[in-house]
Amino acid sequence: MTSELNADVLNEDVMIQASGLTHYYGPQPAIEDVNFRVKRGEVLGFLGPNGAGKTTTMRIITGFMPPTQGKVTLGGYDVVEQSLQARRKVGYLPETVPLYTEMSVASYLNYMGTLRGMEPKRIKLRISEVIDVCRLGDYRKTIIGKLSKGFRQRVGIAQAILHEPEVLVMDEPTIGIDPIQVVETRKLIQDLGKQQTVVLSSHILPEVSMICGRVLIIHQGRIVAEDTPDNLAQRLQGVDQLQVEVGGPPSEVLPALQRVKGVTEVTHRRQQNRDVYVVKVQQGQDLRDEISRAVISSGWSLLNLQQVGMSLEDIFLRLTTQEELG
């Protein structure tokens, strides 16, 4: 395992490697044992309800704060030990867009460029380019405090891509801006994703499906699923686990349940003098009908049959599955 990990770190194509990330704010872990890997050129989405640990993860990747435990390398540099080198490779758009409201768009970008150690000539060139890319042309000299929220978001993106970072990290890039601007922002991120590695977070399912090539679902500080958006959508169809309560001798019920076609695994436990069976079912199949029939036809009583809230589904229910306004 260890040697495999090392090989991956050495692999040129791995841009971000996070292993065993745990972070505590007080006694409760905000994230716990988070592991993931982002390849160069990949667009990875963190999907999860609010408070799942997305922002914490982003802050750790960008070197804003170190994890309580675990390690992140970015382009081969440890974000804690070799923080400066790692930070040079990152463009970051935090959830609340960090802007100096009293500065003009151009002078703000100029300041950010200087902080990133860019040459004055290159800053000038890049400011023109990012202002084009983010369509801020008419607002070059405008004081940021006077811009609308959507435009501020664009300024935030402009500063994040100004120094042509290898990794672009965006925390909820479309939150709180109006629907038309959301569409534009997504388009912009899609375009950026063609050239660089992008990590973004969102609590909106369609958004992530639209932009990202791969999705990590994070819930209560843990990564609960990782797949392409299409595969994730497929996995959601049907039921994966059933909890069945049967009045009958366990020694007979157990094999009977196992005989039902499509059942992969049955476990039995006594719970307050009742026999409870957890039935695992092949992905995508709904076997409630078959199971209830098998129980009743054997002369036992079916006391309870319920879908065990598959964690993924639970989480998806909490996600915004529709475009919300505002």
């Binding site: 802050r59 960008t62 070197g63 804003f64 704060m65 170190p66 400066l84 080198q85 930070r87 040079r88 990152v90 970051y92 935090p94 609340t96 867009v97 960090p98 802007l99 100096y100 409201t101 009293e102 500065m103 300041y111 950010m112 200087t114 902080l115 990133r116 150690g117 500063q159």
Partner: protein, 237 residues
């Protein structure tokens, strides 16, 4: 070094583009001007800046915190600190840049008072020694006061808290000598050495003692150092 410059330059632009700083400058001039002319009521006024220095050191207890309270507290409030700390710059570059900016504003404020000695030289025949040494002392004193303000601004995202705490610390340091009489022996010496006023007194008298220069420079260095560590620790909190 370019990043220190960039941080400092950005803050200087904010200072000079912001009414708040001008209000602070105005109050400084008004109060020091008042102390400067205070002596004129005497039948035999003395051609010295002693009163001005007294007034300046007192008003700086309020003005230095007012100048520095915004510097880091606001970054924390706006969230721009996240941008600073994820940029490839070191924590000390942020603190030193901000400190230099406040020092530049303080120096320009002090420079505006240079017409007081000019008036003296024009209308009277003052002793130049205490005037030069007094200004040196004022700059050193101001620099120490600013560094205390920087620390409190680093520790909180609330500018009012930053202001009140650093003004309180400055007040204590300023009037420590008065308290020295209440305790005796070793403690009296210690409190006297920590207090700012006893170290400023010699400059006012025209004496440039390296001990006092060292004192103010150490205070500045100490508080800036703690500020840097406090900013670093922000990552761990």
């Amino acid at each position: 070094m370019r990043t220190v410059q960039a941080v400092a330059w950005k803050e200087i632009q904010v200072y000079f583009g912001n009414p708040m700083a001008y209000i602070v400058g105005l109050i400084f001039l008004a109060v020091t001007g008042f102390f400067f002319v205070l002596d004129l009521g005497n039948p035999f006024p003395e051609a010295s800046l002693g009163n001005f220095y007294q007034g300046a050191t007192i008003i700086l207890i309020l003005l230095a915190p007012a100048l520095t309270m915004r510097l880091l507290a606001e970054e924390q409030k706006l969230g721009t600190i996240e941008l600073l700390l994820t940029s490839p710059i070191r924590d000390w570059e942020i603190i030193i840049g901000k400190y230099l900016a406040s020092l530049v504003f303080l120096l320009s404020m002090i420079m505006l008072t240079l017409y007081y000695p000019l008036l003296l030289f024009f209308f009277a025949d003052p002793d130049p020694g205490p005037i030069y040494s007094g200004y040196l002392g004022l700059v050193l004193y101001g620099s120490a006061a600013l560094s205390i303000g920087i620390l409190t601004s680093t520790l909180t995202s609330n500018q009012i808290v930053a202001f009140v705490v650093s003004a309180g610390v400055l007040l204590l340091l300023f009037f420590a000598n008065t308290g020295a009489t209440a305790v005796g022996g070793f403690w009296a010496t210690l409190v006297n050495e920590i207090g700012m006023r006893s170290h400023f007194a010699d400059f006012d008298r025209g004496v440039i003692d390296t001990k006092h220069i060292f004192y103010f420079l150490s205070v500045t260095a100490f508080f800036l150092f703690v500020s840097i560590r406090a900013l670093e620790s922000r990552r761990w909190r």
